[in-house]
Symmetry: C2
Subunit: 223 residues, 2 copies
């Protein structure tokens, strides 16, 4: 999404972030500098800088003199995160409906078309990387018309943090009770119709639905 190119630090920052978000670096696990340096084939310094930035973003935590570890997941944090996300994202969505112009509508329709045309699963219980990108792009487009770069940035950051919890859902991605594509279609419909209250309600339910599923899984797994 944001492939800031140029320096090695940025490249490692992006890859590290993708690896954390993709679950290839387990939540709560300790991150050894040497290990990562070897993995990305760069010096320790750039790994360190990338980690510091990630820590500032909240995806990893820094223990002074004791290195870094991937942020630990907990039901409490997920609940807080979800509530905050609903607050910010619905607010931004409302503003989008109120202030969004034709360009916003167009981008939103396009993003939804891409999402609808991308399959969720890739192979054997593997989630399709492309779907994740398309999903993120759709939600991003939904709030992109709010007219506030600050609010938008905050919402994006929270959504990224929430992506971490997707790791919990690897096995039960197909929740029989939900029809996620239909929910997205409904969100698009309400946005185009400029039904602010309806959109806010639907979006809140959409976000909460995913979290409920995850919390159910966490409870079963005894977390």
């Amino acid at each position: 999404m944001a492939p800031e190119t140029g320096t090695r630090s940025n490249a490692v920052f992006d890859r590290l972030r993708a690896d954390v978000l993709g679950g290839r670096l387990a939540p709560g696990s300790k991150l050894k500098l040497a290990m990562l340096g070897a993995r990305y084939e760069v010096s320790l310094s750039v790994v360190r800088e990338a980690l510091s930035r990630l820590a500032e973003q909240g995806l990893v935590v820094a223990h002074p003199q004791r290195g870094f570890s991937v942020m630990a997941l907990s039901p409490e944090d997920l609940t807080d995160l979800t509530n905050t996300r609903i607050d910010l994202e619905t607010l931004a969505a409302r503003r989008s409906v109120e202030h969004g112009d034709l360009a916003w509508e167009t981008a939103l329709v396009a993003a939804h078309h891409t999402l609808a045309g991308t399959s969720l699963m890739a192979g054997e219980g593997e989630v399709n990387e492309g779907w994740i990108d398309a999903h993120r792009a759709f939600h991003h487009a939904l709030v992109a018309g709010c007219g506030s770069p600050r609010l938008q940035g905050l919402a994006t950051g929270l959504r990224d943090a929430a992506e971490l919890y997707r790791i919990w859902s690897t096995s039960l991605t197909h929740d029989t009770k939900r029809d996620v594509p239909a929910e997205h279609a409904r969100l698009l419909e309400l946005a185009i119709a400029r039904d602010a209250d309806g959109l806010v309600a639907a979006l809140a339910a959409h976000i909460q639905g995913t979290t409920d599923m995850l919390l159910r899984y966490a409870a079963e797994a005894g977390l």
Copy 2:
């Protein structure tokens, strides 16, 4: 406020941040690594890391291969920042009123007492550093009862960003039309009385008031 000790990086991060927020490093100005390395008497590496973290926080911007510069100030950003701040801070304040316990009330009363007992001006048009801290602590205490670490953290970050603009107000800190201490007293009163709507309105006006003054100054100064 957050004197994370332990590593040199953290120390430089804190000092750098204080220097940016305190206006000793002019907004928009270029930050040369060697210059800062000499200033803080540390290696370039730690300066670099501290800057990267500050950039991730949004207080400075990173230009790949071209170093860093303090974030540039603009009336547009101030307006956006203020709106977002009002959205988040009033939301958090409302939650505090709804969910805050006795410990929250106590801390808030204490923070207000300290603020009320601290004079704004130090000497010749110099703002008292202690007052800034006390002011920050008061606003922090106001939203500390919201029960959401995430929301609280976001609100704090926005307030810090807004502090940058205080630089614009060096000359006209005593706005004849406002009685800031009275506003603070009123905020405390409404919070203790658990008047959520009243508190939200007063807080919004309080934040907006400062911004209006700054925007007026910016317009006069031709920014």
